[in-house]
């Protein structure tokens, strides 16, 4: 019993220490500049490697999610005789919720885990130490551009996810189910607002991008420098950042809707 309480206490202390280290890593790597700091080209390269390379999974997933939404929505709305609201339903669901959340979750699996493994391996093979000993701060050189690449990429991916999803919905609704295409598109155009739906969705996506990438670089930077340690850190990234996205989604939605 005592030993269980003790291990619970140790777990608590370790969690708090870990959060503290993550906070310090963030504070030191969020700004640019300093000796050997990364440049604009490093940022572009990282956007390519975390963002551009996630395009295919985002596009395919977005299209299918849009198709499913339209299929389900059609079958529900047809009972109430309001299938003309289908375009609105699909687009709002995507722009407000599924675009940011799904893009962030896919990003965590596709790019977050890769970031953790990359940084963890750089640490295990003493590349980060070697950098330090050459007078270059690895936080500024390695972590900063990756962090910002995530913050920039996820909203773009989310918007893309929603756009493709809306097309996927149109494909099912108009081409397969025979809905009049004017109903799908013009009702959507009339109800979707730029600020309430698009911008708020993008704000969410930016926050998710920041959190997922932060967790990913921290897990890599803090991993034990062994193959086991890197494996564990990679899993942690996906688990923790997925939960963080879902939890934050509720909080952000509540704040933005002002309902809670």
């Amino acid at each position: 019993m005592v030993s269980q309480i003790r291990s619970l206490g140790r777990y608590g202390v370790e969690s708090i220490q870990s959060i503290g280290r993550a906070g310090m890593l963030f504070a030191q790597s969020v700004t640019w500049g300093g000796p050997g700091s990364a440049g604009f080209r490093d940022l572009i390269r990282q956007i390519y490697s975390v963002g551009v390379r996630s395009l295919s999974i985002i596009i395919v997933a977005g299209f299918f999610v849009g198709m499913v939404l339209a299929l389900q929505g059609y079958n529900i709305l047809v009972k109430f005789g309001s299938v003309s609201a289908l375009g609105t339903m699909v687009s709002l669901t995507l722009l407000r919720e599924l675009g940011p959340v799904m893009a962030a979750l896919l990003f965590a699996g596709r790019a977050g885990s890769a970031l953790t493994a990359e940084i963890g391996l750089m640490k295990a093979t003493e590349q980060l130490s070697a950098m330090e000993m050459m007078g270059v701060d690895p936080l500024k050189r390695v972590v900063t551009p990756r962090l910002w690449a995530g913050v920039i990429s996820v909203p773009v991916l989310a918007l893309l996810f929603s756009t493709v999803g809306i097309w996927g919905g149109a494909f099912v609704a108009v081409d397969l189910l025979g809905l009049y295409d004017g109903a799908y598109w013009s009702n959507m155009a009339n109800t979707v607002t730029f600020y309430e739906d698009v911008v708020k969705g993008l704000i969410k996506a930016s926050v998710f991008g920041l959190v997922v990438t932060w967790i990913a670089v921290y897990q890599g930077y803090d991993s034990a420098p062994t193959s086991e340690g890197i494996g564990k850190a990679t899993t942690q990234t996906v688990v923790i950042s997925s939960l963080a996205v879902l939890g934050l989604d509720f909080v952000l939605t509540a704040v933005m809707l002002g309902g809670v």
Binding site: G36, T125, L128, A130, E132, M133, M134, G135
Partner: protein, 270 residues
Amino acid sequence: MSDSSAHVEVRDVRFRRGERLIYDGLNVSFPRGRITAIMGPSGTGKTTLLRMIGGQLKADSGEVLVNGGDVGRMSRNELLALRRDKMGMLFQTSGLFTDLSVFENVAFPLRVHTDLPEAMIRDLVLMKLEAVGLRGARDLFPAELSGGMVRRVALARSIAMDPELIMYDEPFTGLDPISMGMILRLIKGLNEALGLTSLLVSHDVEESCQIADFLCIVSGGKVIGFGTPDELRNGDNAEVRQFLNGDPDGPVPFHYPADDYRQDLLTGVK
């Protein structure tokens, strides 16, 4: 042992890793322009010592002076500047950037720290690579190199900014005799040509004695012997002699502390 020609001075350093006290009042000074081989059993903290000198680990108490400045008290930026201008370190696993070619690895510190024109960087990199005999390998990637070549590229990279002090962490481990001979000659050559203060952590007693001016034997958190190879070999410290001769048993016991052997076999419980 404290003299004005010391390049690195370690004073009363204590260092703890979790429960374990790795250094308990370590005192040693490394003379400028000389090769000092740091030796001792695995796990005594030789890498830890190098990392404290490089400022990557901070001593719990005591001072680590490099050129008279206390590394433990420097700010992050002062430390980075010290390492950039004055220090090089060759890591046990070399730490080459796997996504950069040999050329770009050596060019890295120059590109990051200087505004030299491309032609000048090219010349400097080729000079460093020529010094380690790998000018022809400039377009290869680290994964395509043998263990000995990896070490030589890392060596070329760590001297790219012309340091005054260079630290080698077990540079011979896992090398064939020929590669080992090359590294040995390079370490000696750099020390002679550039007057580099060299700290060499190694287990290879014979090889280290060939090139080292001084040996520093570390064991149990303290320096148990410091002097020229001959002095230590003929000295009266049994533990130092055991280490230099590689005797399996002596003051450093062969057996990890354990219960009585016979008792242990007879009790039958795990």
